[in-house]
Symmetry: C3
Subunit: 427 residues, 3 copies
């Protein structure tokens, strides 16, 4: 548990560093985020100009914000961007005005059902300005005139995203994608970034079978931009995982790809089920995070999504209550552990052909079988070899063998290694 706890604490520290930054789908908050992540894993950062056509979309203007507040007649800031990046409606156009509360109200967003929480709101594609605040803050405001100021710019610039690649033995790729566009939200954004980053570091210490590509991009428009700019790479993407809501204390949830029977789906189902963790596997829905884009019918990639409590499934979702205290080091460490186990299975899930398929090959003379017969205990390793031999028809993978036999994947993969080394099967 010690190393797990340690990596959990490291991930939590990263979440805390990133928390104050005002991320959006474009702008300097994303750049600052990627700069910090780049201290952990080297990143290739891409800047895509405003106006670039990406699939059915167009890269929007870049939004940046320096300050924003609502001040009362005494000049006291009753709502202040400096206190939390959530206080401003994302992509607010600049405003500088004084107006009575009644008029201002049309631009204020609250959560009456959680009066102490500040909601998260954006208006990317419709020019608006607004503030988000606690209902109890609003309730305490006396009538009268308020000074309103948003010092933002919305101008031609760039959309920013980054990639990190862990080279594998084959060029076939596994993509791991997380969104980097939410301001001060910890579970919905930062926990996924942290788990992805430490997963990349762990994979870099091995030479995995697949090439693993980590994508840090703004939600929707970022994934669409990546897809638009990587048309030639898509055919190499064999599997993928979207990481989001990766750090709350709820049980793990795996949302299957649109295909539902993609290898990544089978691997995650197997790993979660074999681990005996409380967990949930859900069907694909075309709502949620960027699996929406990767699984759109034209691409239909085998990309699932791993979360703890999923999208919009907890009251703190998209509010100021999704803060660093809401995510736990242990939960992030647990998410990371499942990712590592899943990718370990994925990497070893080969399909073999039995080269001696007529009757059983004589394992004994190859040193693969217990020499003393007649004992009624059957040993797992021998059983695993018999299962691999029996099922290896070229179309059946080791995960199928594990599931059909009920043996641990590890035992099956180890047996396959022994049989391959003995020349009895080949991939």
């Amino acid at each position: 548990m010690a190393p797990m706890t340690a990596v959990g604490e490291e991930m939590h520290a990263l979440v805390e560093r990133l928390y104050p930054l005002c991320r959006s789908i474009t702008g300097d908050g994303v750049r600052a985020t990627l700069e910090i992540v780049g201290e952990y894993v080297p990143l290739q950062v891409h800047e895509v100009p405003t106006g670039t056509q990406v699939l059915d979309w167009t890269v929007p203007q870049e939004w940046n914000i320096r300050d924003a507040y609502v001040a009362d007649s005494t000049g006291r800031r009753v709502v202040d961007f400096a206190a939390s990046s959530l206080h401003v409606l994302g992509y607010s156009v600049p405003v500088s005005a004084t107006m009575p509360l009644a008029e201002l109200r049309e631009h204020l967003h609250t959560l009456p059902e959680h009066p102490a929480w500040v909601p998260y709101r954006t208006s990317y594609y419709k020019p608006e300005w607004g503030f988000c605040l606690a209902q109890e803050t609003l309730d305490a405001l006396p009538d009268g005139d308020y000074e309103v100021r948003i010092d933002s710019t919305l101008a031609d610039g760039h959309l920013t995203y980054a990639e990190h690649v862990v080279p594998g033995q084959v060029p076939d790729e596994v993509i791991v994608s997380c969104h980097v566009c939410h301001p001060s939200l910890a579970n919905d954004n930062l926990a996924g970034i942290a788990v992805a980053t430490f997963l990349a570091r762990a994979l870099a210490r091995e030479t995995p079978y697949y090439t693993y590509r980590f994508i840090y991009a703004p939600g929707t428009i970022g994934a669409i931009t990546w897809l638009a700019r990587n048309a030639e790479r898509i055919d190499r993407v064999r599997h993928g995982l979207v990481l989001a809501c990766a750090g709350d204390r709820g049980r793990l949830t795996y949302k299957q790809s649109r295909r539902g029977d993609a290898e990544i789906d089978r691997v995650l189902r197997h790993v979660l089920s074999a681990s005996e963790r409380p967990h949930r596997v859900t069907e694909f829905t075309p709502y949620g995070y960027d699996e929406r884009q990767y699984c759109s019918p034209g691409f239909d990639l085998g990309v699932g999504s791993l979360s703890r409590t999923p999208y919009a499934g907890y009251p703190e979702y998209h509010t100021s209550a999704d803060n660093p205290a809401f995510v736990s080091p242990d939960a992030m460490a647990d998410t990371l552990a499942v990712c590592r186990e899943a990718f370990s299975v994925l990497d070893r899930n080969r399909r073999y052909v039995n080269l001696s398929p007529y009757g059983e090959p004589q394992l004994g003379r190859r040193g693969l079988y217990d020499a003393l017969g007649g004992r009624s205990d059957t040993r797992q390793a021998q059983l695993a070899m018999l299962w691999v031999l029996s099922m290896s028809d070229g179309g059946t993978g080791l995960l199928d063998v594990a599931e059909r036999s009920g043996l641990p994947f590890d035992a099956v993969a180890t047996a396959a290694d022994a049989l391959r080394d003995a020349g009895l099967i080949k991939a």
Copy 2:
């Protein structure tokens, strides 16, 4: 409920008008029935001569009956056709004789387990004569001689059936078939006729997608005759429904087509299940009503059968207790409502192709999406659009989308209309 009740009462009135007529597989009772039905919807009546080869069968001689009775020695009619058409064995040959009760008994049919009820019996293909009566009537007959008279004719003539067509937008047809060969039996015969007739009237008020063909024909030989005479039309029959036992107070029963996964099967399963009515869906069996013929392996049409309590499933079946009081206006109205809903789903169950399948199309700039992001409530209409876009690969119909998404079919179909109008999908 008022209009439903009204149409239920209208259907029940039709059942009561038709009830006294002595229908059989041929003869004037069928013609009289079709004449009355013709007052509600225009019918094309077909007369097929005796001796016509129809598939493996031959149209039999036409049977007509004017009078029939058993009279005791005082001349009192103890069994009288005038009191109920059930009293005569269907297709009885003429007889005029006096005989002792012992000899007469061999021609008498009763239901000892229901002593007050008169059974329904026929002998279409073996020349016989006979009477059906209540067991208690028989028990009260003293020994002695009885006058027996059946004034029937069995002669070359015609088999009569009728069609009514509601033209649709496409020539592909849905057939709705009911049998018209049972004499005074209300649920088993007349309720189906009534529901079919009012369904035709309802459809005629719209322009449905499919062309709906209503077939009023004697059971077995009538359906076989229709099939034999419509060989060229069969390829156009996409779906069908046999209506029978449509008016008793039991829950609805849908019997699936021989194929079991025909679109009509999926539609009825969906509509019944979504409606939360108590109901039952059963597997195909080659016994029952004319689905036997439509689903015979040479045709194998997607024709299911909708009943309330199914074929032979109630004690009143094929007895005098299956009278107009046994069927209820509300039950017939309910059967009609399910038919209308099912055909509405069938008519709108198109397969679309997403014309913008790479990533999600930007719904916002087409006015199809809520402009203000970040809200955690997802709206059904938007979700339905995302589902239709995600699933529309040309092979998946809207009913599949509704079932996979768990959304109401209506929401899905409405979303598809909006996407089609925006040029994002096409059928």
Copy 3:
């Protein structure tokens, strides 16, 4: 029950005759066994020379044994082959020595968890010698020197197996295979031999549809030898059954073929389920008896395995407690009865084509249908005819019809005979 009991007693008598013989994978014990079986059914005995290459294996040297014992310092035989063939490790090399108990212990095999039982052990492919004895015998041995003698020979010779063929109407074959290589073990070996033998006798009294080939061969190497020498016959093997552990008092267990949906699998599942016997159907595993070889992926034959308590599933397995008292005449008779019923279904499970598939053929004019219509009771025979007509599309067998209709297989097969005789269907 009398004839069943009689055949059960006869099978048990055969088990008792065969029990004392010291069988192994080669040698005179196998020959003596086949000679006795040959008194019941004529056998074709095959002798395959040592050194013959059979698939991936080589026929080993032949092992024969005349005497073996451990004697204490007084000359008393404390372990004696003459008392039980289990006392010697199978394939023991000869030995003649005197040694202290401490040294001898390394060659002694016991079952500490069942101190009164003698285990069964072999060392076919690694030169070894050893004795098997009860733990309590071992515990009673005082320290000191013991004389050890095994009078065995391991020399070039032959592997022996036998076949018996019951000719059928077609050359397509069903193989029934049992192992003949275990020494004094009753359930695991002899019960299967006995059931196979009396099954062959029963089949020989009929002319079955399939040709039935009974294979009596040593486990693993024997089945591999048969497969190697019958390459040209394999394509004719349509179905098969391995019989083992056929006589204990546990419920029947059918282990499915590797294919899992082979016709033999469906037949056994149907027969066991329809019989309402307590039973169990298990998935294929590549461990057990010679189904391992017949189902190896290169052959992948439709061969299942019928046992009572399966392989290694009872504490007496591979011990001296698997003696004639452990198997029961009734259990063997019951296994035999299920085999006979299964083969009867298999033999009659034809696929027919309906020659009159458009609408129902008129059964009445062919004398196949009740002439008096309108009766609400449907008779099984007529229903069975309708089901056969409805399903007979050339791809659906009578077992499918029985399962889909819920009718007894017998009723369905009888209906098919009547329809075939009437020219309405053909195989």
